[in-house]
């Protein structure tokens, strides 16, 4: 080329629309449900690169389950799945209010992306371990973790299993295959790979399922996890929840010039799948496929769940400052609860009336749990775990300097 060189300028990504703009997803390409193929469970990564570019979808617009991935779930489990998502949404709703009422310091909901965690959990077995971020409460609910325990944690009350130490929603539930949540984004990702390696070293059959948000894929742990998972072929599912937003920063800052997050797996020879995260059946099918693959020794998978964070980032955030309010409503992959409900209706196994009944029942269940929990206490009412608890569990045995400090603290 001999054209004159123009001065360089910095490219800074910009989302399609900002507050004041008409929300618009017309650039967002979605294949029809049923169109994306299903590779063999032991397919070589290089023979399935296409999977990172075409969203796996099962439920079509009419609520029918179609295509090669539409094969796993009976009606009872579907109803269970619907219930899980409804409980999660009801809980989120109540807890957002509780936060505003000062019963807790902080809350963080899953609104709009309930299917991702709820359906994924159903594909795991007892003994497997999730390494979640703060937005996978659905894993606990789908695994029948008591709601009251969740709320006790959120309220930091006396029965909080984490003794008031952790920020609300930073659950830990080993018996339920739910690893302790860290506030530092990404750290769980390489830990999940290590846990999976340990299963392989021990000759066990447990697998790990790692969780990370679109924004957090930029963190270093994402890279370390992919390197180690690839090198040691660890039995781990590497989930990326692409809900389009970090806090105020849209996913374009993390994905950069790449078409999908799933494509990140290719540089590591890790099979990578793109799934409609608001399609309960698709998420379940893909998670089951990946779990089976890992458990049978065929190594790691990366799954990008395409979804939308319909609510605020957290109780500390107001999204109207950085994105158009109506964006969630026109999100092309719809709402996960609506879609599963419509599927059950299409199967003649459900109806609007039963759905309303179920809603009421679920709300009641959450209210009961909340009531029980409030009877114990909230952050601002009733006792929480005593100051003594600060000094415990720093080490298994309290060293002398901490004993001294505890005494100084008068406890």
């Amino acid at each position: 080329m001999s054209e004159p060189i123009k001065p360089l300028s910095l490219h800074v990504p910009e989302p399609g629309c900002r507050p004041g703009d008409e929300p618009d997803f017309s650039d967002f390409e979605i294949p029809k449900a049923g169109q994306t193929r299903m590779p063999e469970i032991d397919a070589e990564p290089q023979d399935m690169r296409d999977m990172a570019f075409s969203i796996i979808r099962v439920l079509n617009k009419r609520g029918e389950a179609v295509g090669p991935w539409a094969q796993y779930l009976d009606v009872d489990r579907l109803k269970q799945g619907l219930e899980h998502m409804m409980i999660l949404r009801a809980l989120d709703n109540r807890m957002m209010s509780a936060q505003r009422q000062g019963k807790t310091s902080f809350y963080l909901q899953s609104l709009g992306e309930e299917a991702v965690a709820c359906a994924s959990q159903m594909a795991l077995q007892k003994g497997d371990m999730n390494f979640p971020t703060y937005r996978q409460a659905g894993l606990l609910i789908a695994n029948d973790y008591p709601l009251e325990m969740m709320i006790n944690q959120i309220y930091s009350n006396k029965e909080d299993p984490l003794k008031g130490r952790q920020l609300p929603v930073f659950y830990s539930a080993k018996e339920y295959g739910f690893f302790s949540i860290s506030g530092n984004l990404g750290t769980q990702y390489s830990q999940a790979v290590g846990w999976a390696m340990a299963s392989a070293i021990s000759g066990d059959n447990k697998i790990a399922s790692a969780w990370i948000g679109d924004g957090s894929t930029s963190e270093s742990d994402f890279h370390a996890a992919l390197v180690f998972a690839s090198t040691y072929q660890a039995p781990v599912i590497l989930n990326v929840v692409n809900n389009q937003w970090a806090i105020s920063t849209f996913q374009g800052f993390a994905s950069g010039n790449a078409p999908t997050f799933a494509a990140r797996g290719h540089g590591f020879g890790i099979p990578s799948l793109l799934v409609d995260g608001n399609d309960y059946l698709a998420v379940y099918a893909v998670a089951s496929w990946a779990a089976e693959r890992a458990r049978r020794g065929f190594g790691p998978c990366l799954i990008e769940h395409v979804t939308y964070r319909a609510g605020a980032h957290s109780s500390s955030d107001d999204p109207s400052a950085y994105r158009p309010a109506g964006e969630g409503a026109i999100w092309p992959l719809g709402d996960p609860i609506e879609r599963l409900k419509n599927h059950l209706i299409a199967l003649d196994a459900w109806s609007e009336e039963r759905h309303e009944q179920k809603s009421a029942q679920v709300l009641d269940q959450v209210k009961q749990a909340q009531k029980a929990s409030e009877a114990i206490g909230t952050l601002t009412s009733g006792a929480h775990a005593s100051a003594r608890n600060i000094f415990e569990d720093v080490y298994e045995t309290m060293p002398p300097h901490l004993v001294k400090q505890r005494q100084e603290a008068g406890c």
């Binding site: 008031g164 924004g215 901490l402 400090q405």
Partner: protein, 338 residues
């Protein structure tokens, strides 16, 4: 003069710096369009454009690593780590790179870089939104470490940090963003807007790094404090009814040793206070220096009142926080000794 909160003062510092010097670039997570989760950079992108104030991917390593490269190029990056608790992924770039670039290249490359981070607790942020990692910076040769305690200082010190030819860690006590919190969490906090001391010059001014401020003169005991603890020290002094000299260190490195020495030699007693965990906290360094320089003037051991050597808890925040009650007790204790 305008009455500003600490957030407004920090924003104003950015503004006048960017106005004055087009080499100043500002970036970090949520710093651009939205203006930062604490709004310290609000309006800058609109005013100075997207290539001088922009959002970044969530990678503290990437933020600092690219900033080091930019500084070496000749720009003056002022970057934000969203919470000090999240600096760890960037530590290698801070300690091994930014801090040593001038030295290892014998001055060929330099690193005029400011890394801002909200620090400290008191906001029910739990263990990952409450930490005070200053000692992890003061141990690293080549860094300067600054912590303001009020809006006026925040602006003047930040501008001095931006002018500085070397990397500066700028820790902003987030509990002070809106008002002077003295540790009485059960009492309402009045906004900076209602404090005379928060009249801030709207123009460009600097407060030199390495100069402490004597918050109040006193003759009985010296309290060494910085950030939020400056206000706690004031409250504790009143509570203990003691004629204490309170020194706001403002810059931990370089440290204003002279002011400290003079004060302790005068009072003969010293209490050091910080929110960070005790062992190997910056208080240890202060004790080491004071005992060395003022040995023959000390009438009692130097006491340290600090956060406990545990993670920062959520519900037990006020049991952890070294508030005025604990400090007052230590003051009386140190007064009684000998």
């Amino acid at each position: 003069m305008k009455r500003m909160t600490m957030i407004e003062a920090i924003r104003s510092a950015h503004d006048v710096a960017m106005e004055k010097d087009e080499k100043v670039v500002v970036f970090g997570e949520d710093v651009g369009f939205f203006g930062g989760v604490f709004r310290c950079t609000a309006g800058l992108q609109e005013k100075y454009g997207k290539s001088r104030c922009f959002d970044t991917p969530i990678s503290e390593l990437g933020i600092v690593g690219t900033a080091v490269g930019m500084a070496a190029y000749g720009l003056k990056p002022v970057v934000e780590i969203q919470f000090a608790d999240y600096f760890y992924p960037a530590y290698d770039q801070i300690a091994s790179e930014a801090a040593r670039l001038r030295h290892r290249s014998a001055g060929q490359f330099t690193c005029p870089l400011v890394i801002r981070m909200p620090t400290g607790g008191g906001i029910f942020g739990g263990q990952t939104h409450s930490q005070s990692p200053e000692a992890l910076f003061t141990h690293v040769a080549g860094l300067k470490t600054v912590i303001p305690s009020n809006p006026k200082d925040a602006k003047g010190l930040l501008l001095a940090a931006i002018e500085d030819p070397d990397p500066v860690i700028f820790l902003e006590p987030k509990r002070l963003y809106n008002g002077p919190f003295d540790g009485h969490h059960d009492r309402p906090v009045t906004s900076w807007k209602k404090q005379e001391e928060s009249d801030v010059d709207e123009g460009y001014y600097t407060i030199p790094l390495g100069k402490a401020r004597i918050v109040q003169q006193g003759s009985d005991i010296t309290i060494l404090a910085y950030g939020t603890m400056v206000h706690v020290a004031q409250a504790a002094t009143k509570q203990a009814n003691i004629d204490a000299e309170i020194i706001d260190l403002r810059t931990l490195l370089p440290l204003d040793i002279k002011t400290i020495e003079k004060s302790v030699k005068k009072t003969g007693r010293c209490v050091v206070v910080h929110e960070a965990t005790k062992t190997s906290g910056f208080g240890a360094e202060l004790c080491a220096i004071v005992q060395e320089l003022c040995f023959y003037h000390l009438e009692a051991p130097i006491a340290r009142i600090t956060g406990w050597d545990t993670p920062y808890p959520h519900a037990q925040e006020w049991d952890y926080f070294p508030g005025p009650k604990r400090l007052a007790k230590a003051l009386l204790n140190t007064m009684e000794t000998k």
